[in-house]
């Protein structure tokens, strides 16, 4: 029987084609499954990081409420302590005046011995000076407490702010003027694209820029070729502001706490750790977001997104 006569030859060739096709299909499906799996894994990762972000925002919100309460509680005693201290200051002046009068009208020699020995035993000249200073320092300290309390209130941020139409770029320019001195030795690079005015609280947004720029300046302290670059641009219906520095950067442990109130790595008296948490509150209240990426010893970049209203 010749090949042409054998119907199984044809059948065999058909089978072979069918098998090759099946193998190709199997490979195609494997590829599709692989891609779908990849996409799933990607969305899973995204979900996970979004969840982390949500947890963080929740934590910050709780801290906000807590800080508002604490601020309120501290404010009341703070008010009367401050007012008492300034009253004491004026009382002190009165006592000091009495003493001067006494000393001028009744020379020491003419005093009764008991009074005279008491005056000589205590260094009233020093006491007078020191008392004044003590009260001044106390008032100064109270002012600082009041500032911190104010910061806490700003972070908690529930008062609806007065909004007005403003140009973000102008705010950046005026903030930069304010910072002339601290930024003296730093190269500042600006790329400010024209932006539409947005409804915002300009002084608050300026405060955010100020906080970011002072942090950048701090991070650049003692580094070679210090540079800050400020960029603004419009992306769809969002205004983006990025402020980056080539400063010391931050480890992950700092980045993840940066918006937490009172979190600071700076020396006592240098930083209160409120700058970024206040900024966070302000940007949130504008319906925007603030993000950080940072690499240790390389620098940091902050991105603020604000919706165009």
């Amino acid at each position: 029987m010749s090949n042409d006569d054998n119907p199984y030859i044809k059948a065999y060739e058909r089978e072979k084609r069918a098998r090759l096709e099946a193998e190709r299909q199997l490979e195609d499906s494997s590829r599709i499954i692989y891609k779908k799996n990849q996409a799933l894994e990607d969305s899973y990762e995204k979900l996970k990081s979004q969840q982390a972000l949500m947890l963080k925002q929740e934590k910050l919100a709780t801290l906000g409420t807590l800080s508002a309460g604490v601020a309120h509680e501290i404010n009341n005693p703070l008010a009367f302590v401050a007012s008492n201290v300034s009253t004491l200051q004026s009382y002190l002046q009165l006592y000091q005046h009495v003493q001067t009068l006494l000393e001028t009208h009744y020379p020491r020699e003419t005093m009764v011995p008991a009074l005279r020995s008491y005056l000589e035993a205590n260094d009233f000249e020093y006491i007078n000076e020191d008392a004044e200073e003590l009260l001044e320092d106390t008032l100064e300290g109270l002012k600082r407490v009041a500032n911190i309390v104010q910061s806490l209130k700003n972070f908690a941020y529930d008062q609806p702010a007065k909004r007005q139409s403003a140009d973000i770029n102008e705010g950046i320019e005026s903030t930069l003027k304010l910072l002339k001195l601290p930024l003296e030795h730093i190269e500042v690079e600006k790329h400010l694209a024209p932006l539409p005015n947005i409804d915002c609280n300009p002084s608050e947004l300026n405060q955010v820029i100020l906080n970011l720029l002072t942090n950048a300046a701090d991070a650049l302290d003692g580094r070679s070729q210090p540079k800050i670059s400020i960029k603004t641009y419009l992306n769809g219906s969002e205004i983006l502001i990025t402020i980056s520095d080539n400063g010391c950067g931050m480890p992950e442990s700092v980045v993840s706490n940066i918006f937490v109130p009172f979190f600071t790595t700076k020396d006592v008296g240098k930083g209160t750790g409120m700058g970024m948490s206040i900024s966070y509150g302000i940007v949130e209240s504008h319906g925007g977001s603030i993000e950080v990426i940072s690499e240790e010893d390389k620098g940091s970049e902050f991105t603020i997104r604000l919706p165009v209203t």
Binding site: P7, K10, A11, R14, R17, A18, R19, E21, A22
Partner: protein, 183 residues
């Protein structure tokens, strides 16, 4: 129509009439095709109908009878390929009730975008099962054959009636299965 249906038709023809007959059917019905069918791939419905009509002409048998025969044969082949669906159903009625929601649902996972009919079930007071068949391919006769094949497998005598049909202008077919052993 998925290649698997062509494969089963092929097996049926070869089993009953031999390889030469199948080669000939392919040559007359689909002279421009290479005749190879892969189970998971979709081929034009017309190709199946062309093969059925060629067979009908060659065997001088009405096309319906060929489709019905294919259905009956198809059940056996599907049962061989997917024994799990049969094992899951203890009796014919349970099996038929599982076609739409269980079996064809599984088929959707295994095959990319298959063309499957839909079945709606009503259990009649008499104990009979009414299956409403809907499909743009109007393969109700294939369904009849599949049901007969299943009945044969479960060794359950049935009476099958088909009072409403898409081929006579209705929007669906009523397939009524009366189970012999319940009467």
């Amino acid at each position: 129509m998925k290649g698997i249906v062509f494969n089963i038709l092929e097996e049926m023809v070869i089993e009953k009439c031999g390889m030469a007959a199948w080669n000939e059917l392919l040559e007359t019905a689909l002279p421009d095709e290479d005749g190879a069918f892969t189970a998971g791939k979709s081929y034009p419905d017309e190709n199946l109908f062309a093969l059925v009509h060629a067979a009908s002409a060659k065997l001088e048998t009405p096309a319906e009878q060929i489709i019905s025969g294919l259905g009956e044969y198809m059940f056996g082949e599907l049962a061989k390929r997917y024994p799990i669906f049969i094992e899951q159903a203890p009796d014919l009625k349970t099996f038929l009730l599982s076609v739409d929601q269980v079996i064809h649902t599984e088929v959707r996972k295994l095959y990319d975008d298959p063309n499957l009919p839909s079945f709606e079930y009503t259990q009649l007071d008499s104990g009979a099962l009414l299956m409403e068949y809907r499909s743009p391919r109007k393969l109700c006769i294939l369904a009849e054959g599949l049901i007969r094949g299943a009945a044969h497998h479960y060794q359950t005598p049935i009476t099958l009636s088909h009072p409403t049909c898409m081929h006579t202008g209705s929007d669906h077919c009523d397939l009524i299965v009366e189970f012999g052993d319940e009467q």
